[in-house]
Symmetry: C3
Subunit: 137 residues, 3 copies
């Protein structure tokens, strides 16, 4: 990795499949360009990364009408979890669960999918974003 | 434009008129200050930029009660598409449709409003954001 | 404060308690690390900062099922307004109401909670974010 590459960091709050897919596509793109990617899972997004729940139907944003839902679900793209695996294969992608959300939902690391690398507090997350970009999704 | 001005980049995901308006106001403000603005249209936001659909009612965020909707709709501001035209007049504003979302919704560039300058993949978008700021809206 | 610390800026659009809490936690974390924090209140978030309304029930994101709502409400964390007060105690936190949203909702500064430091336009906000990070929440 080029020393000058700055991280792309994503705070994932929403747990719908469309937003998770948008996030995963950004993660793959950034990782492929040699940028470290930090992902911080909060609230509903964290719940989508529970073991055994990743491939569940996490609904779409409320804006998706029935007709749009059909079109989006019919699109033959990879699942967001597969995109994240791919991002980890090609680059440096670190996925952390927010300690506060873990506590709120009474979750332990063993309750989470192996895609999640660890649990950290918000201070550690903010330290990791350094001078790169951060998106709240 | 000052060479040191860094871009302000907006990933537009939501297609409601209130979020599109918030985005357009940020775009006008940044363009007026000499910052390049990159806008990347995904999912529901992309659909709001279809030709002939720009001035349609794209609803408001689900938080808008009936009373709030009335207040917001009664406010005499410019339409978000007018604000974006104004931003293009005063500065360097580039609006790109996400290739993946175009494919998902079976859209071609001719299906889009002329405000949209082109279609690009996520890698091109990430390259364009360089070391400026990126907001996901 | 270290002169090199760059601001963390938050555009708050949503006015639900879960997103306001996520924002407040980021603000506390950044302030504790010596980073200036700029908060810009728009739309539904601005309404949550009206005097006498801060502790009202501002609902949760639509993704919160009844069961999740119960779990989130039962979690013994501090209210987001308390976290913001704490952030102001430990660091440099500036909370500004968006002039356009103030006008839209027919609000004056005296209608707002004392947590809000002032009213500013989007140009002033963009000038204040300089080369730090900006999240849209």
């Amino acid at each position: 990795m080029d020393e000058q590459e700055k991280p792309l960091s994503l705070v994932l709050f929403s747990g719908t499949d469309d937003k998770l897919n948008a996030a995963a596509v950004l993660a793959v793109g950034a990782a492929a360009m040699g940028r470290p990617v930090n992902i911080f899972l909060q609230y509903y997004a964290l719940r989508a990364f529970r073991a055994g729940k990743v491939y569940a139907n996490h609904a779409l944003a409320w804006e998706a009408t029935d007709a749009l839902t059909h079109v989006i679900r019919a699109h033959p793209g990879q699942h967001w979890s597969e995109l994240l695996k791919q991002a980890k294969d090609v680059g440096e992608v670190n996925i952390q669960a927010c300690a506060l959300s873990m506590d709120m939902f009474h979750l332990k690391q063993t309750d989470l999918d192996p895609l999640v690398d660890g649990i950290e507090g918000v201070a550690a997350f903010i330290a990791s974003v350094s001078d790169g970009q951060v998106l709240f999704i």
